[in-house]
Amino acid sequence: MLLSWDWLKDFVDVKCNDVKKFCEAMTMSGSKVESFEELGQEIQNVVVGKIIEIKKHPDAEKLVICTVDIGAKESLKIVTGATNVFESAMVPVACHNARLPGGVKIKKTRLRGVQSEGMLCSLKELGLQLCDFPYAQEDGILILKEDVHVGEDILTALKLKDVVVDFEITSNRPDCLSILGLAREAAATYNIALEEPMFNVKQFENNKEKLEVKEVCEGLCKRYMLHKISDVQVSYSPLWLRARLKAVGIRPVNNIVDITNYVMIELGQPMHAFDADKVEGAICVRKAHVGEELVTLDGVLRELDDSMLVIADEKKVLAIAGVMGGLESEITAGTKNVIFESAVFDGTSVRQTAKKLGLRSESSARFEKGLLIYNCPNAIARACELIEKLDIADPIGATIDIVNVQEKPNEIELDCDEINNLLGTTLTIEEIANYLKWLGFEMLEDTVRAPIFRTDIECVADLAEEVARLFGYNNIPSVPLPGGDIAKPNDFENFKNELASLAVAHGFYETVTYSMVSPKHFEKLLLEEADPLRNCVEIKNPLGEDKSIMRTTTIPSMLETLNKNMSQKNERVCLFDIGCAYKKKEFKDENGKRVVDERPMFTLGAYDIEGRNIDFFVFKGAIEGILDKIGIRNYTFEAVSNLSFMHPGRTAKIKIDELELGFIGQLHPTVAKNYELCKNVLVVELDIKTMFELAETKKVYKPLPKYPAVLRDLALVCDKNTPVAFIESIIKQELKNNLEELELFDIYEGVQVPLGKKSVAFNLKLRSTEKTLDDEYIDKLIIAVLKNLESYDIILR
């Protein structure tokens, strides 16, 4: 909301010359200032001059020499090429050393041998547009028709000097979307008197012209007022009015339209003006019919639908209620009779219509916030006042006023203790009452009555805020919190953090990726039609296909991230991510049927373009290290070849008994190609909740061994397809507690072993908790192991 300082002074005399201080004061009392601008700063040393004499330039046919009286002792000789100058014309004169918008400097200069002591200015040179001075000739010197005096500073003469402050108005204060509303806030901030406008409604009484409203959609129109004015003289508005509109960012059009805009900005009540002679029959406020169309004021043909509220006559649609008028019934130079409209339409309806049409206006922005009906007659009255003041017509005319709702000011019990308790203050009842009075509240016996326009005041907490903002938030004493319980540890969140720390310790960098992905990933991951991962939660109103579903696996996010890194030529990348996969699953929670199970996933991904430093086993080692440290024991890796996006021979499920934690493996080469990745891409996806449930985080000390350990090597030959894990399980099973560590140190296939066989070699560390193991005993154990292995065709090498 833009506030003109000049306009503000109609209502309140803020004795503050420092705009910055004013902005600060307003911000701290609750009207946040976004920025402010001092208009006219760019123009210096430009005055009003009167052309006394025009002579031909001796050496240039297209130039003339003007003698210009600028109210100084000596008049100026100014050379110009403009053709619209004439003797006695009042013109803007940029004197020697003048400054103009755009950083232009004017100096005395010689033009074709003749000294020119300044410059006569055009609209453009003063940074103005034709709409600001509609009578001006766009490419000529600005010939002033205003009531100006010779020698007067152009900034004052053309009302170019003002300060414009931009306020951020919160949604609870639509009343502040007006000069009057902000003036009220300024008055309260400085505790000074407000010049409340008086609205004279005498002109409503006479019904000399016929005006008919047939139907008003009750649900979407709270009040509908029309007022007809006859025999108007449409022209441009006076300078002061144009200047104010320009300052607050509204383009002057003509006196009638300008009045509607002026009233809207001043009082916050949008108005519309129809050309009465274009209205055929009775007016109604109704929903549009499907297929109806309207060319709006901006010349665009709008297709309407039956959710939109329109103003129509018996033949056609005249305007889209609260949004924009129609071109056909607009006020033009030829308009003779005018109908002013001042109404309150349903805010939500206006908002939705404006959004559908992509047509937000100053008017719709105000309707959206929810207007009050008390202001409708005020707006008509103010418009009539201006009609009279601007001498446009006799404001007396027919009025129609249809009221569909009742409004009354809110009354709240004044509980000073509660206010003080909420704020942590010790204000007296008088102080509290004073602050409220500054804001226009009325003190009743035990209650306070809020001003009619303060519908946001509903309870004591609301009063507390009013008091606090005038008392000053920063004057409220700061108090440390009273002692409380210690923060309860959140085990699951801690677990996730611990996982992250371990991944970091293993050289992985954490990523944060979008939860929404493209359904195209399903194809890229080679998922079959029936794959459960395709069963996803869809967003009803996505930004685009790109982010239209909730991911059912974190793998595509990881692959995209890896792809981005590869396209940046990062050679070797190890990443991890802790974020959810969103599984579609119907289940009931306490509030009804839910459809999504949010599963936090621990995802790792890595590639190495050269393929030297990262392979399946480096990756597996990292996961094993992490699982061990996080307290997950007895997990197994089970080869799987049914994950469509994974290498069928290089992927394993990680399981504890029959429970699946997730999988690890190398990406399927086709999928790698689909994501424009190199071949050597490794990924892991583990379900964190399952991990959390299975992790043994409690640590109990085991006594250090008393007896020495014995080391043995075991080199075995077996079928080349025998899994190492199988051999390990037999060794473990046989040696039981005597086996402290079992470590694979070599696998060999080649000439030294028969074809189709491989050699597998282990280091065994044996130790007993009860005695020192002697060789004889160990030999016996080993023989038992070998015997067991032999039954599976695994023999000592």
Binding site: N421, A487, N490, V504, H506, N541
Partner: protein, 339 residues
């Protein structure tokens, strides 16, 4: 005999002091002091010496024996030191050759920031709770006093899954959820992902992060709110940080405020970062609206509280002087390695 002893002594001294390795010295010990060593021999011969010479020769022999022992020890030490010195010299390396690094990763700056903020509030007794990202409208809006046709509920701002389920637009949803099932005293914080319909650019993203705080106890007032959040700002941005509270509006708090902090770039003097204001908007806060308390089944006459919410992405951007939000979600490892 005396001369012989002297001779042995001189010979020993000479040989020992010329010896340059441990092995030679050991041999010399045997030669002179061993069972059949020269001094040992002479000591044995003492029994044949006359009684008057015995004490003198005995003393002399013992002195010589002691001298040789001392000399041997000394020389051994010298030789060892020399050998050690040589060894150390041999082992000299170029310490300016780069070290062999152990690979270590890093947390994402956003999560590092979140953790730091969580730590600060934890120290003030706030427990971490989490809530779902796909949320009932009831918790995201209704119970936060955001009525059905409030603009904040518009389809153009919120991603909807179904008529009643949406991607939460604020972590404030956790407030309602928690209060509904827990009785005061309540002190919680809840960081997490939130979603709003916004195209991705340098300062916007359809997914971003917030942290919500809530305290509901007997006797909590705005003074507590101010102190807590001011203490947080000083802990997070530095002890010199100043804060100010401005009136604002949120549906679920009353009175409501926004907290600004003195610009971290210019310290409040005014610069490009703070648009010459000297202040930077940091978070929204306020006293929990009595309607919200009542909707959650908490007696607003008995309990009061305050709530706050701040954007984590912006906090992290400020913390690390990151000028583009996109960097967080691109996860270029050259970016991630900086934290």
């Amino acid at each position: 005999m005396r001369d012989i002893i002297e001779k042995i002594k001189n010979m020993a001294k000479k040989e020992i002091s010329e010896a340059s390795n441990i092995k030679v010295l050991e041999e010399l010990r045997v030669k002179y002091l061993g069972k059949k060593g020269e001094i040992t021999q002479k000591l044995k011969e003492l029994s044949a010496v006359s009684a008057e010479l015995k004490p003198m020769l005995g003393k002399l022999l013992n002195d010589v024996k002691r001298d040789i022992e001392e000399l041997l020890t000394f020389q051994m030490e010298t030789v060892r030191n020399l050998a050690l010195k040589e060894e150390l010299e041999r082992e000299r390396i170029d310490v300016t050759i780069p070290g062999k690094r152990c690979m270590i990763g890093a947390r994402h700056p956003l999560n590092a920031t979140t953790n730091e903020i969580v730590r600060i509030f934890s120290s003030m007794g706030f427990s971490v709770v989490a809530g779902p990202e796909i949320e009932w409208e009831k918790y995201n809006f209704d119970m936060l006093n955001i009525p059905k046709n409030h603009p904040a509920r518009d389809e153009s701002d919120t991603f909807f899954i179904s008529d009643e389920l949406a991607l939460r637009t604020q972590t404030s949803s956790v407030q309602a959820r928690y209060m509904e099932t827990h009785k005061p005293p309540i002190r919680i914080i809840s960081p997490g992902r939130v979603y709003r319909i916004d195209e991705i650019d340098a300062t916007h993203s359809p997914m971003f992060h917030q942290i919500e705080g809530l305290i509901v106890e007997r006797g909590i007032n705005m003074g507590h709110l101010k102190h807590t959040l001011d203490a947080f700002a000083r802990a997070f941005y530095g002890e010199d940080t100043k804060t100010r509270f401005r009136p604002h509006h949120f549906q679920f708090t009353e009175p409501s405020a926004e907290m600004d902090m003195s610009c971290f770039n210019c310290g409040g003097a005014g610069c490009r970062v703070c648009k010459n204001e000297g202040w930077i908007e940091l978070l929204g806060c306020g006293m929990v609206h009595p309607k919200v308390l009542e909707m959650c089944g908490i007696d607003s006459n008995e309990y009061t509280g305050f709530a706050f919410g701040m954007g984590l992405d912006r906090a992290a951007m400020q913390k690390f002087a990151i000028n583009n939000l996109k960097l967080f979600f691109e996860n270029d490892v050259r970016f991630l390695k900086q934290f």
